[in-house]
Amino acid sequence: MSDRRQVYLDNSAATRLDERVLEAMKPYFFDKYAVATSEFAYSQGIEAREVLDGAREALAAALGAAPGELVFTSGSTESSNIALKGVALALGSRKGKHIIVSEIEDFPVLNSARALEKQGFQVTYLDVDGDGFVDLDKLRDSIMDETILVSIQHANQEIGTVQDIAAVGRICRKKGALFHTDATHSFARAPLDVGSIPVDLVTVSAHTIHGPRGIGGLYVRQGTRIAKWMDGGFQEFDLRAGLENIAGAVGFAKAVELATPEETERLQAMRDRIIDRILAEISDTTLNGHRWKRLPQNANISFHFIEGESITLHLDMHGFAVSTGSACFSRSLEGSHVIFGIGGDHERAHGSIRFTFGRYNTMQDVDAVVDTLADVVQELRNISPLGKDKATEEG
């Protein structure tokens, strides 16, 4: 309790904005606030257009895409909604009404699929193995002539498992279905090059990499059949109506520039240390997700016999912010669908804690949280009626 410093370890939920990002954005709030217009209008508008296109170029380049393939949105929720519903609208009456998603997708994809289901689409929810990987043979068998879209995430939001999306893409390409991947948590942290991976749509966002909230992107491979469904102006290649968020776009591009490979290595070292220390020092713990094929910034561990909201609350009182897959923590009072998806039971979901690292964390933070956790876990296990017999057996 002596250390009152707040240590934020929930960087997959939101990240602290980097000052350099804010500095890059500032001019577009105060001096250069004009709307991005055509080249036939006034000069501020033309300049705004150039700045927006510059940001677009930078982001497209980070994905290995052409600038004309990157659509700015308000964030990953909107990007995935446009991908699923836009393809459904374009191809639903033309090619078929079947969509495939993995059962551990994040809610923008999962709930877009459920919404389409209510409108008469048929959705296959592919199950995953114990590490969170989709079975490629099952995927191949699930694609039918009527399948218009496969949406399988690049990396998982909770357990960090990184899918083999190159293999997924090849299957989709071969069987003639479009492929969307939600790269919200992997963008600028794990390699994703649309030049070598046959993917048609990619969701990205600035909020996970110390960029501003309210700006995201959707990569749309040239020639992809996708329809506009939010009506308004003709912005963003007539796919996404609405006044362009130029400051946000500039901030997004800056955030990507600052997310370097050196930083990825630093995050990965913290991830590896927390996993190694917890599994070695705290008994009855299980790593959720694959040990190596996972996001560099993500560790997710279940502490058996105790409940996650109690753990997070104790950690909060010691100044650490983490999240849990416990039902008690969620707004629907349901345990994590991801932990259930990888074959975990309620107890494993309830005791799961996610640690996600960012630019402002240090190795000292890692050691401090593990030291505190050891005490918190012991305290809660003393109260718990579960696991006692085992403890006695082991002496």
């Binding site: 909201e309 609350l313 107890e347 109260i383």
Partner: protein, 211 residues
């Protein structure tokens, strides 16, 4: 920085009273299960002369409100007669804690039930077993009063969410006045099953939602 919990809740959560087991207790009960997310064990010793609870301990696998309610319930019950202790309600426990968030009612009600069940267990073991009564609509309604509606923190019956109850041939059918796609529909269904399925003459429970 307002956490959703009162100072008293946090105090009991941090330093729960009367934690542990009683060896060879006069009465004991386990409510909930790891599957429903929360679990409470309650152990009591009873002074046969005065019929008062002479010692009480609890264990909790649960969230902060579950732990805090377990703690406060042991304080409220200690020294009370069985009749007095049986009448302690969730509302009283919640008030003693300075209030609990409504959405947390379902996890904290377990400790209250745990105390009542431990008393029943004591009575059963001391020759006060009641006759097995057949399950009626009113039996089911009584149990549904223990299923919390997370929207309001009050039970399903009181919040008029129970549209219909049918009982016959070991089959119980409950219709809940919520759309099946509602945020809390799965958790409410799960809790209804957990409350009704253990009835001795019930072999099947069906929960339906309205659209």
């Amino acid at each position: 920085m307002p956490l959703p919990y009162s100072e008293t809740v946090l105090e009991h959560f941090r330093h729960p009273r009367n934690v542990g087991k009683i060896e060879d207790p006069d009465g004991k009960a386990i409510e909930g299960s790891p599957a429903c997310g929360d679990m409470v064990s309650v152990y009591i010793d009873v002074d046969p002369e005065t019929n008062r609870i002479s010692d009480i301990k609890f264990e909790s696998y649960g969230c902060a409100s579950n732990i805090a309610t377990g703690s406060i319930i042991t304080e409220l019950a200690k020294g009370k007669t069985l009749e007095e202790a049986r009448k302690i309600t969730w509302k009283e426990a919640s008030e003693a804690l300075g209030g609990l968030p409504k959405i947390k009612a379902h996890c904290s009600v377990l400790a209250v039930e745990g105390l009542r069940s431990a008393i029943e267990n004591y009575e059963e073991r001391h020759g006060l077993v009641k006759e097995r009564k057949p399950t009626m609509v009113e039996t089911v309604r009584g149990r549904l009063k223990k299923v919390m509606n997370p929207i309001t923190g009050l039970d399903l019956v009181r919040t008029n969410l129970v549209r219909d109850i049918a009982v016959g041939d070991g089959r119980v059918r409950v219709v809940v006045d919520l759309p099946a796609g509602h945020q809390f529909a799965p958790v409410i269904k799960q809790e209804i099953l957990e409350k009704i399925e253990p009835l001795w003459d019930v072999s099947e429970v069906v929960v339906e939602f309205t659209e």
